[in-house]
């Protein structure tokens, strides 16, 4: 029953519908011609992007659609090389069609080819109309108010699996910068790759100016506290980002090939391409120069049914069918809204986010369906609204809840992006994050070359972190390409880093690197996005003279009055030495009479055995020493307790530092009557440490016997009190001498 448009508007239904289309491909632009993956872009342009634009143009009115265009797609659409090759691709296809039409064909096959001939000519015309850059088209329709535009993170990285806040921020910020450069504004919404959300991501989004994003249905249904409108409204995350849930019932009608529209027998069959219906000689000219057969895009058959015998595609039938399905969809949506008309503040909202490429590429008639569906929605009095407008109207009616990690992937979490096929990738990405933080912290030069190098390093990281690579490995199609691309960017990162460290970088070399993957302009990338305020302080503000020729003292009890450690430390500091004490203490750091005192503690579950408790203590000392070693260059390690001898020895050995040991007493004095396993172990440890020491100082003459006779220390132990003034004069530095 058709309603007149005017009448339809009077009979507006309560509730809203929001369509969100996310256009994304990995960055697959290669300077070298004939890369198979580049065809993904041509197919997306021919089957999805332009057909969608046709519908927007045909309807020429505000549609309430939100289109997310990912930065790789934006950059590839704007790329002159891709543009030229796309035209060549279209011309080749038209030539193939002409060649085919010269053959003897069944009428229906000929009709299908004629349909493609018109269509490819139209594609070419549209492409040229927008001066080969479809960003212009999207921007135009956005400026007309027909649709809303947002974008995605820089390379579609899977945020919940990133190691650091900086990594997530670099993806978000760089994506927004890229979008703004092409489209002239910063959107308030952002498509998070894979609809992946994790608590805390919202904080970064909010700080980067993002007020809404999308999650899957279960993320909201399982939110805590349970939102009172279920998926009928967005919820605010704790940091204030509105999360719009995908309505799976409505979405399923469209995407599911089983229960949804695309599987109808009249629609075009995706898996049957002309390339596989011809002898090689007939199509060789249009295939890959290395003899590979690939899709021509000319798919002349229809779904037909559950059979391998496919009939020819009849464009009119398919076209009619989209009208029917559009009406059915509007009807179903209307009923769905009516079923929830009891909901107020805000009225029921159906959010329907999709991969844009579903429409056209996968479901060939999808764009026609969408255009017609919008008309039928008007007939049904259903208001199509963008999330941005919804928030303007209803921002005060939205619950706040804790939303757990979730995605729209298989089973709703992260099984696609971390499994036995792709788990080898994640550690490399995390290492890159850690190294980027280190590189920006250490290289505070603001010269053009260093800044450019930082940007190139971030670019390589971003290209590596794309969720497409683990996604493809999960699916096992074109897995080799994905794995190679991933490894390539990791190795390019390492090479750039190595050259930066070795001062072998030149602007020309960096420019060459950029030309190989000209993704993002330098101005899109904030070179210090991986820098924390703390690292800036340590690198720039902290006293630099503290970093050289330092002495590392391991003292379990720094304040013990019967031992000379604190007195020595102060004496050395007063003499101008850099003295770092690591001790067992609650207070993490104090700067006391010129001495840097770092306190460490063993935390976690208690250990039962003394010797194991000592292992944990040594690990705690080691971790602090490792952290300090990132910036402080130690000349000597001086150990005051046998309890910390393992860490002291390990550092001395691996870092090639001289070890100085102070002995107050030895285990045989401490436990004269015991000979259990613990005593044996301590004696062994003590003996090893003393024999490895460059200098052994005795605090009490009474322990000399034990050191010399029981531990067979070859170097003669010295009296500490006699060497207070110059305790390290007898030390030879293996590092410096070596």
């Amino acid at each position: 029953m058709e309603l007149e448009r005017g009448k339809g508007r009077e009979a507006m239904r309560k509730g809203y519908f929001s369509l969100v289309l996310h256009a994304h491909l990995p960055y697959i632009r290669h300077e070298e011609a004939h890369r198979l993956e580049e065809r993904w872009m041509y197919e997306a342009i021919s089957e999805t992007y332009i057909p969608l634009l046709w519908e927007v143009d045909r309807l020429s009115r505000p549609l309430g659609w939100t289109v997310s265009i990912s930065p790789p797609v934006i950059e590839m659409l704007a790329d002159p090389l891709i543009q030229e090759r796309y035209i060549e691709h279209i011309e080749d296809t038209l030539r193939l069609i002409r060649q085919e039409l010269e053959r003897e064909l069944a009428q229906k096959e000929r009709d299908a080819l004629l349909f493609y001939q018109d269509r490819y000519q139209d594609l070419l015309n549209t492409f040229l109309h927008w001066e080969k850059d479809l960003n212009r088209a999207f921007r135009h329709y956005k400026e007309q108010g027909y649709l809303d535009l947002i974008t995605c993170t820089a390379t579609h990285g899977f945020s919940p699996h990133m190691l650091s806040e900086q990594a997530a921020r670099s993806e978000i910020q760089t994506g927004l910068n890229c979008f703004e450069r092409h489209y002239g504004f910063r959107p308030s919404g952002l498509w998070m790759p894979e609809c992946a959300y994790t608590p805390g991501l919202d904080r970064i989004l909010y700080e980067e100016g993002i007020r809404y994003t999308f999650v899957d249905e279960h993320s909201i249904l399982n939110a805590d506290p349970s939102p009172k409108h279920g998926i009928g409204a967005p919820v605010y995350s704790p940091h204030g980002v509105a999360l719009f849930p995908r309505d799976q019932i409505i979405s399923g009608k469209i995407w599911s090939s089983v229960i949804g529209y695309p599987g109808h027998p009249d629609y075009r069959e995706f898996y049957r391409d002309l390339a596989y219906d011809r002898e090689w000689d007939q199509i060789a000219e249009f295939m890959h120069p290395e003899g590979l057969r690939y899709d021509t895009g000319l798919k002349l058959h229809r779904v037909t049914g559950e059979t391998d015998q496919k009939d020819y595609y009849v464009r009119d039938w398919a076209w009619q069918r989209t009208s029917e399905h559009a009406a059915d969809f509007a009807q179903a949506l209307g009923e769905h809204l009516d079923a929830h008309q009891g909901q107020d503040f805000p009225p029921f909202l159906v959010t329907a986010p999709f991969d844009a490429e579903l429409f056209g590429h996968w479901w060939f008639e999808g764009p026609d369906f969408l255009g017609k569906a919008m008309e039928r929605l008007e007939d049904q009095g259903i208001e199509s609204i963008s999330p941005a407008i919804f928030l303007e109207r209803h921002f005060q009616d939205i619950d706040t809840a804790h939303v757990a990690m979730g995605t729209w992937g298989r089973k709703g979490y992260a099984e696609v992006w971390i499994n036995e096929r792709n788990d080898w990738m994640i550690r490399h990405l995390h290492q890159l994050e850690k190294r980027l933080a280190g590189i920006v912290a250490r290289n505070r030069h603001q010269d053009a070359l260093t800044v450019k190098a930082k940007r190139q390093l971030i670019r390589e990281y971003l290209l590596a972190v794309s969720s497409d690579w683990p996604f493809i490995l999960d699916g096992q199609t074109t897995a080799q390409y994905a794995a190679n691309r991933f490894r390539e960017h990791i190795l390019r990162f390492e090479e750039t880093e190595r050259r930066l460290d070795a001062e072998e970088l030149t602007v020309e070399w960096l420019d060459d690197r950029y030309r190989e993957y000209p993704f993002l302009q330098d101005s899109d990338i904030e070179p210090d996005v991986f820098l924390t305020a703390h690292d800036y302080y340590v690198a720039v503000k902290r006293e630099k003279s503290w970093n050289t020729d330092a002495i590392l003292l391991f003292v379990r009890q720094y304040d013990a009055s019967d031992r000379p450690a604190s007195e020595l430390a102060r004496r050395l500091a007063a003499a101008g030495e850099n003295v770092y004490v690591v001790t067992e203490h609650l207070e993490a750091y104090r700067f006391e009479e010129g001495v840097h005192v770092y306190g460490v503690q063993v935390t976690g579950l208690p250990l039962v055995q003394t010797y194991n408790q000592l292992a944990a203590l040594n690990l705690a000392f080691l971790r602090q020493a490792q952290a300090l070693s990132k910036i402080v260059d130690f000349a000597v390690i001086h150990n005051f307790n046998m309890e910390t001898a393992s860490a002291a020895q390990a550092i001395a050995k691996i870092k090639e530092l001289p070890l100085v040991s102070n002995v107050y007493d030895v285990e045989s004095e401490r436990s004269p009557d015991r000979s259990g396993g613990l005593v044996v172990a301590l004696k062994r440890l003590e003996g090893d440490a003393l024999r490895q020491s460059a200098v052994v100082y005795l605090e009490r003459e009474e322990s000399r016997h034990g050191v010399e006779q029981e531990y067979h220390v070859e170097k003669k132990p010295l009296r500490f009190e006699e060497n207070l003034e110059k305790p390290y004069q007898h030390v030879t530095n293996p590092k410096k001498n070596g």
């Binding site: 011609a33 290395e290 550690r427 490399h428 912290a441 490894r487 970093n547 039962v608 000592l614 690990l619």
Partner: protein, 240 residues
């Protein structure tokens, strides 16, 4: 002609463009190119040349520039696989990520320094340790203070550097430790992960977040009282 074809290919020309430029047919170009590519793959595999990281001296003695921090840490040369990728990183890290409400993925790296410490302390070789993972439920408790709801641990096969931990419970905070099981019955943790939280897999009736969300929403706390995995990573974390 092959040389010219290769050169033009490198410049990104299509076979059609190359044919036009060399005034020949596309078929000939394709033939020559295919033959050339085939000849490349038939050559014996040459080991990938990987430039090893050169050990660099610290810059302190020669760095008058004030905005450069001496790079004390030397990037070590790492073992590489056939693709040139590091097979191991000289780092001490264990990190857990969510695969699903009932599965976590954990990977770790252990430095030479840590191995040396363990070997020194226990006077044995690294290979001879019994390595284990300990899975600790720390939901709403302070693990630093020694509190834990429950733990379980299991032995790891030699040469592993990652594990899918299954099953774990949904809506639970975990810390994972990599450590050694000593003969006298202790588990000595060597690496400890940051907390990670498994997602809920069903709607809540009486959840644990309403109150903490309220605290945060109304500014009653400085930091949210739930796990957020994307925290800033500071390179100079424990340097003051």
């Amino acid at each position: 002609m092959l040389e010219q074809i290769i050169k033009l290919k490198e410049q990104g020309l299509t076979t059609k463009q190359i044919a036009a430029q060399l005034d020949t047919t596309e078929g000939k170009i394709k033939y020559a190119w295919t033959k050339y590519r085939k000849s490349l793959t038939e050559q014996p595999l040459v080991a990938l040349k990987v430039e090893s990281k050169t050990v660099k001296q610290t810059k302190k003695s020669t760095a008058p520039v004030l905005d450069v921090v001496p790079s004390v840490q030397v990037v070590p040369s790492l073992e590489r696989d056939a693709f040139g990728m590091a097979t191991h990183y000289e780092d001490d890290i264990i990190h857990a990520i969510v695969q699903s409400p009932t599965a976590l993925y954990v990977y770790w790296e252990l430095s030479e320094l840590s191995k040396q410490l363990l070997e020194t302390h226990y006077h044995t070789t690294f290979d001879s340790f019994r390595k284990e993972l300990r899975i600790i439920d720390v939901t709403l408790v302070e693990y630093e203070q020694g509190q834990a709801n429950r733990t379980y641990q299991f032995e790891l096969p030699e040469m592993t550097n990652a594990w899918f931990v299954r099953p774990v419970a949904p809506n639970t905070t975990y810390i994972i430790e990599w450590g050694i099981q000593t003969i006298d019955g202790d588990f000595v943790p060597v690496l400890r992960s940051k907390p990670v939280e498994t997602p809920r897999d069903e709607p809540v009736t009486d959840g644990r977040f309403a109150e903490v969300v309220h605290h945060w929403q109304y500014g009653e706390v400085e930091q949210p009282e739930w796990v957020e995995v994307l925290r800033p990573y500071s390179y100079f974390d424990r340097v003051r």
